[in-house]
């Protein structure tokens, strides 16, 4: 990675400047162009799993959060085709879990709900609802997990491992049976703590990780996305100063094979 080398990209016909080594998403963020995302979160290693950030680069669909920006790349971002893929991915998430916004305490700050509103998804689609029945793990005195609402973004896994230095969460199972498991029989068996970054409202984009007794504290109208659509902080240049400023990275093993192909420039160091 060569530091600070300026490169030029074209996104939906618009030419932008970026720094070599930046991901497409970071390059766009810096220019006030919001690429939708769910599994990516400021301060966490990107993993490119939700694919909501899909863009087409030189004719190939890639995840903008993990794809390095290349000089001269021609990026298709808001074409009907790409937006269609993104909408379908978001729609399918609603069908895979039990996302009952009317009774969910994450409503109003939920990134999945906000993404659906941004995409104009307001009614059921023709996909079947899988209606999973997964038990709520309320064993921990301060935290509960409702896996029926999980979208498998893995942000909690990365936050616990890379920021908190714990390994409270991990993926278990394969394919349609894949879900988030905890490092023990139940959450109470783990070393999870309410003050962990993994348990903060910034990490879980939906209502899966629940901070006990705090539900519905925010009145309707004052919740994160009640008045601002998701991504507006990036599209609004005045909010840029808050971007990429969140947390310290606890530990990332550079020799870890999982991370070999990840652009480390996306991991934000503690700037406070």
């Amino acid at each position: 990675m060569s530091d600070n080398k300026k490169i030029t990209l074209t996104i939906d016909g618009k030419t932008i400047q970026a720094e070599s080594g930046q991901s497409i998403m970071n390059a766009c963020d810096a220019q006030g162009i919001y690429i939708p995302r769910l599994c990516d979160s400021t301060g966490l290693v990107p993993q490119g799993s939700c694919r909501v950030c899909s863009v087409k680069v030189n004719g190939r669909v890639v995840a903008a959060c993990t794809q390095p920006a290349e000089d001269g790349a021609n990026i298709e971002h808001e074409s009907d085709e790409i937006q269609g893929y993104r909408k379908d991915l978001v729609r399918m998430l609603f069908h895979e879990g039990n996302h009952l916004c009317p009774i969910c305490e994450a409503s109003g700050r939920c990134e999945l709900q906000a993404m659906a509103y941004r995409f104009g998804i307001s009614q059921a689609t023709t996909y079947p609802y899988l209606q999973p029945v997964r038990p709520v793990d309320a064993s921990h005195p301060d935290i509960a997990l409702d896996n029926n609402r999980c979208i498998l973004c893995g942000r909690c896994i990365r936050a616990s491992r890379d920021v908190d230095g714990k390994n409270v969460f991990e993926y278990v199972g394969r394919g349609i049976h894949k879900r988030i498991g905890v490092n023990g029989d139940c959450l109470a068996d783990t070393n999870a703590d309410l003050n962990d970054y993994a348990m903060s409202l910034e990490v879980c984009p939906v209502g899966c990780i629940i901070r006990k007794g705090e539900g519905f504290f925010s009145p309707v109208g004052e919740r994160q996305y009640d008045s601002d659509k998701i991504g507006s902080n990036i599209e609004n240049h005045t909010a840029h100063s808050s971007l990429g400023k969140l947390i310290k990275v606890h530990q990332i093993d550079p020799n870890d094979a999982i991370h070999d192909d990840i652009d480390q420039s996306n991991v934000n160091e503690d700037k406070s």
Binding site: I103, P135, F216, P219, V220
Partner: protein, 489 residues
């Protein structure tokens, strides 16, 4: 062709009530009504699927029982959860915000019922053609009345918006308090219309009172039967829709119990199950299931309370008591008058609260010593609403029992439909839609919430099915599909 078989008439669906239900009228071989039953054909299952959910979710989940008076469920659940989180007395701001929300709710629900649902019966007559007997005819022929109904309901909904966060299904009542106060701007937006609402509320009391007095013969003959009555009352006996002790009186006005702590309700209220209905039949334990049934709601409240603590409504309550000769009023149609007195009371209370600076306070929530069980009663628009929960050490609900107002009125509604069926259908050789509407009028007077929030507005086809004694369908009639009225002979 004459037959000599017993039959059952079904009125399904009932129109201009909340939710889905049907009435069956049982006829013997001489076309005499032997019995009429109100069936609630929905099964919601909230008491089961709330189990396992977390306690602070409960006020938000259970309010989805209904879209007409969700605030009642929201607040009853929140009160029960207050008990579980160990808060017996809320902060002044929290309690007053909740009360304001509740008064807005009772006002809008009662207005909806009177102006939108039952006014076609009262203004056009129970036997008016079905095509005329609906809200659209009211808008056409009584535009001023219809407009006031719409704007009064809108005002009540605005009160809910500013206190609950949304007009329908807000989220502000949380265990131990509330999540918002009332801003000055919100307060002022409501205050600008309050005097107009006071004026219109008094007019509404006049309309309902005059209807009762001008149709005294009908009112006294229509679903008039003796019953016990029950409601919450304040410590001094005043009307209190949000909290208090339970008072029950018999048909003569004698106290059965007074100022009972609702947290011990299972010691004086029991529920009976009957095989033909999903709804249980509650009764006062000391009186037994045959004599212990009672009525709740506006009529019961006007009978049980000693007075109303707002001057205009109190004067109207005194008129009502004068009319009933200071004895309990047992006429089903008197519910409408009682309901409008409560609207006036709510508007007076809303004004009183809007002028109270406590609503701008910032002390919103308390915590206390955790309990395992929570029981709450609130006076919903339709009557006493009981919520009972148990919660485990992980904050998950393990038990839930909801006794809603319509359930309390179950026996009374069944008696009312039987009474009306016997008067208007028994022995008739030809049964018309208009006759059957009399039965619906009797049900409608109780403003039952069949918990679906579907409003038919008179346009849902009323289908009557005629079965012989062997349960074979022999005829069907509906005024919307141009079928002839049913011939019973």
């Amino acid at each position: 062709m004459k037959t000599k078989k017993a039959r059952i008439l079904e009125i399904e669906p009932l129109t201009r009530v909340e939710g889905h239900g049907k009435v069956t009228v049982h006829l013997d071989e001489n076309n005499k009504v032997t019995e009429a039953r109100l069936h609630i054909v929905e099964f919601r299952g909230f008491e089961r699927f709330i189990q396992g959910r977390l306690l602070w979710e409960v006020p938000v989940i259970v309010q989805r029982l209904c879209g007409i008076c969700p605030v009642s469920h929201h607040l009853a659940a929140a009160k029960a959860m207050d008990m579980i989180v160990g808060v017996d007395q809320l902060t002044p701001t929290a309690e007053k915000m909740r009360r304001l929300m509740h008064y807005g709710q009772v006002m809008q629900s009662n207005v909806l019922h009177f102006f939108h649902l039952c006014s076609p019966d009262l203004l056009f007559g129970f036997s008016a053609p079905a095509k005329k007997r609906n809200i659209f005819s009211i808008i056409k022929e009584f535009p001023d009345l219809a407009k006031k109904g719409v704007l009064m309901r809108k005002f009540g909904q605005e009160v809910i918006l500013h206190t609950a966060g949304k007009k329908i299904h807000g989220n502000s009542a949380i265990p131990g308090g509330i999540n918002k106060n009332l801003s000055i701007a919100e307060r002022d937006s409501l205050l600008k219309d309050i005097d107009q609402m006071l004026e219109w509320s008094q007019e509404a009391v006049d309309i309902s009172k005059n209807y009762t007095l001008e149709h005294l013969g009908l009112v006294e003959a229509f679903g008039n039967f003796k019953s016990n009555h029950m409601s919450l009352v304040r410590e001094d006996g005043a009307l209190d829709l949000y909290d208090g002790g339970l008072r029950a009186i018999d048909a003569s006005g004698n106290l059965i119990f007074d100022h009972m702590d609702y947290r011990n309700f299972d010691q004086f209220i029991m529920e009976e199950v009957k095989p033909w209905s999903y709804m249980k039949f509650p009764f006062i334990k000391s009186r037994g299931n045959l004599d212990g049934w009672y009525r709740v709601g506006p009529l019961a409240r006007m009978n049980t309370i000693s007075f109303i603590d707002t001057p205009l409504a109190n004067a109207r309550h005194a008129e009502f008591r004068e009319f009933s000769k200071h004895k309990p009023a047992n006429m089903t149609l008197a519910y409408h008058w009682a309901r409008m007195i409560e609207v006036l009371h709510c508007v007076e209370k809303i004004k009183e609260l809007l002028l109270d600076p406590d609503l701008q306070g910032s002390d919103l929530k308390l915590t206390g010593e955790r309990r395992e069980e929570g029981i709450a009663v609130i006076e919903a628009p339709r009557g006493s609403l009981f919520h009972h929960y148990k919660v485990n050490e992980n904050d998950q609900v393990t038990y839930c029992n909801l006794i809603v107002s319509t359930t309390h009125n179950n026996t009374a509604m069944n008696l009312a439909v039987t009474d009306v069926a016997k008067k208007y259908i028994s022995g008739q050789s030809r049964i018309t839609e208009a006759m059957l509407n009399h039965i619906e009028v009797a049900v409608r007077a109780y403003d039952p919430c069949l918990s679906c929030a579907t409003h038919a507005l008179g346009q849902m086809p009323l289908v009557v099915e005629l079965f012989d004694a062997d349960n074979n369908l022999i005829d069907t009639g509906s005024q919307f599909v141009n079928k002839s009225p049913i011939q019973t002979t």
